[in-house]
Symmetry: C2
Subunit: 335 residues, 2 copies
DNA sequence: GTGAAAGCGCTAACAC
DNA sequence: GTGTTAGCGCTTTCAC
């Protein structure tokens, strides 16, 4: 059995309240006694039982993190930020993987509350209404990642997906492309996928281009999926000169398909991505893409949660981090 | 304030022990009362406080997972297995990221014990003696991932790195290569990196080849690192016909360097990897590599931890999972 | 400045 | 079968 506060108190010849006071510096203790207690703690290697402490303080020092896929490249990088900053504030991370399934998401949200986590960082591919409803109802602070919640009560952190997609589309257009396919994410209307679509739309319209429904396709974040879409472009002989995929992995799927079918990138087709995951600069050709401050997204989300836990006022419900268009080797000018 | 067992007891007009009994089915309760209590639990949405329960049961239902890099591709995939099987057994995952730094590793090991986790899954790049010593000393069950601990007391799960590296080297040799570089991991002698080296060594020796010290190099799991190594090969004009990197990411670093310098893969140089992370079949050329059952490694590690928690006998301290050589497009026969 | 005692929400003897 | 009670290890009034 490990050593408790009682043991320390006994050895020090003081009451447990006194020991508690020196541990927490919650009230003044005479320097003499403090030293004695400290010494005994040192000697015995006593560590306060956080569970007992949690029980009385009603604080678990735990933050739940719900993600749709731990092994997803983008998410892995976000987790780095979450973990590091979380630990900085003394919070441990309870990790939950939902595979993006609503049922799992609801289950974990419930489980995490039962576990008394103090806050939840939530990420999903598709933010279903039922989820929003549930999240807005619960007491535990929740912050959403990678999703603009300006219409909701839930705080969030993301980049300006509309603006980023606009810039990227404009960039492609400025490079001489007139046929620009969009492989977007199949998501609900309030999602970032919709914002991105609007950005794409605006850039085309501004430049007098019409949206070609054949060239706007829904992907599902999977490489195989964009691969198939491009295959269809080829088969139907409607291959555009540029493809804008709203995730790097989908961009790579597109490029792989092109390469497999004897096309050159960017020689025949320019392909650009979104996110700038590590892979974007590992893969050849290096991806032209929208750089997101991925680590910071995780870091900021924790900072928000901590503020909410401490009942501090949030400057804003929606935090928008800066993005940047990174020009690499998968796109080129045409005339 | 949320509802407690007391409230339920009062509403049901029974004692709290009875409520506890129906919650835990720990002792028979008359069907009539059981129904009544169940109904009230249903109505009130009562959920037992796991912290209070932990305090008295001395069980936290938490498993600590310590990894050197959450965003590492290989580790992300392992985490999937850990999370899923862990949840299956009712355990939550406390995630800790160490960046492979001994100081952090020790700190987290300590923190996790203080948090009363019931077991720890531990992963690191370099298993330092100090760590082994510490782990062997503590009461909390620990299992090591991706490391053969046959000489230690600590259980582990991994593949047969020696055999796998042997097979891969032999495969390359059988493809006609006589100059085979090895980019191995710079690790302590008991590590899998050493086993892999021995496998490489054996395959060469069996075939009457000598080890060329210029061609056996230490990488550090980083892409940039193997990139530099290959650059040096080129500069010194000692480029071999085949490069065996003991991680897929390092293999890709090698290929990138070759491509950047105008070489073809596998045209001029065959490059093979190790692990078979998702990226291995996304990257072009697809990597010839050693397939590890990555998800299963995570899954099995949790099963072992659960057995240890339950004080069940382990069949074996060291679990070796099967591997497989996967032939893809980054290697070819030469004459 | 210090100690006694109550109580966080729960489980598990122990009685009946 | 059911209720009473004693803790689990800690924080925090409330006295002194």
């Amino acid at each position: 059995m490990s050593i408790t506060i009682k043991d320390v108190a006994k050895k020090a010849g003081v009451s447990i309240s006194t020991v508690s006071r020196v541990i927490n510096s919650s009230k003044p203790v005479s320097s003499e006694i403090r030293q004695k207690v400290l010494k005994i703690i040192e000697d015995t290697g006593y560590q306060p039982n956080p569970i007992a402490r949690s029980l009385v303080m009603k604080k678990s020092q735990l933050i739940g993190v719900v993600v749709p896929d731990i092994s997803n490249f983008f998410i892995g990088e976000i987790l780095n930020g979450i973990e590091e900053i979380g630990k900085m504030y003394g919070y441990d991370i309870l990790l939950c993987n939902t595979y993006g399934q609503l049922e799992q998401e609801l289950r974990y949200l419930n489980l995490l509350q039962a576990k008394q986590v103090e806050g939840i960082v939530f990420m999903t591919w598709k933010l279903q209404d039922q989820l929003v409803e549930y999240i807005e109802k619960i007491d535990t602070p929740v912050v959403l990642i990678n999703r603009n919640t300006s219409k909701l009560l839930i705080p969030s952190v993301s980049i300006d997906n509309f603006q980023a997609a606009y810039e990227m589309t404009k960039y492609i257009f400025d490079n001489g492309h007139k046929k620009i396919a969009l492989i977007r994410n199949s998501l609900d209307q309030d999602a970032f996928g919709f914002d991105q679509f609007r950005g794409y739309q605006k850039a085309l319209e501004e430049n007098g281009l019409e949206i070609d429904d054949n060239l706007v396709r829904y992907g599902n974040f999977k490489l195989e999926n964009s691969y198939e879409i491009v295959k269809e472009f080829i088969q139907k002989d409607i291959l555009p000169t540029a493809i804008f995929a709203t995730s790097d992995v989908m961009a790579i799927g597109a490029i792989n398909c092109l390469l497999d079918n004897g096309y050159e990138v960017p020689g025949d087709v320019s392909v650009v991505g979104f996110n700038d995951i590590k892979l974007a600069s590992i893969y050849r050709p290096n991806l032209t893409t929208i750089h997101q401050p991925i680590y910071d997204i995780g870091a900021v989300s924790i900072r928000i949660i901590v503020k909410m836990i401490n009942k501090e006022e949030l400057d804003s419900n929606v935090v928008i981090l800066p993005h940047e268009l990174v020009e690499r080797d998968s796109s080129k000018k045409i005339k």
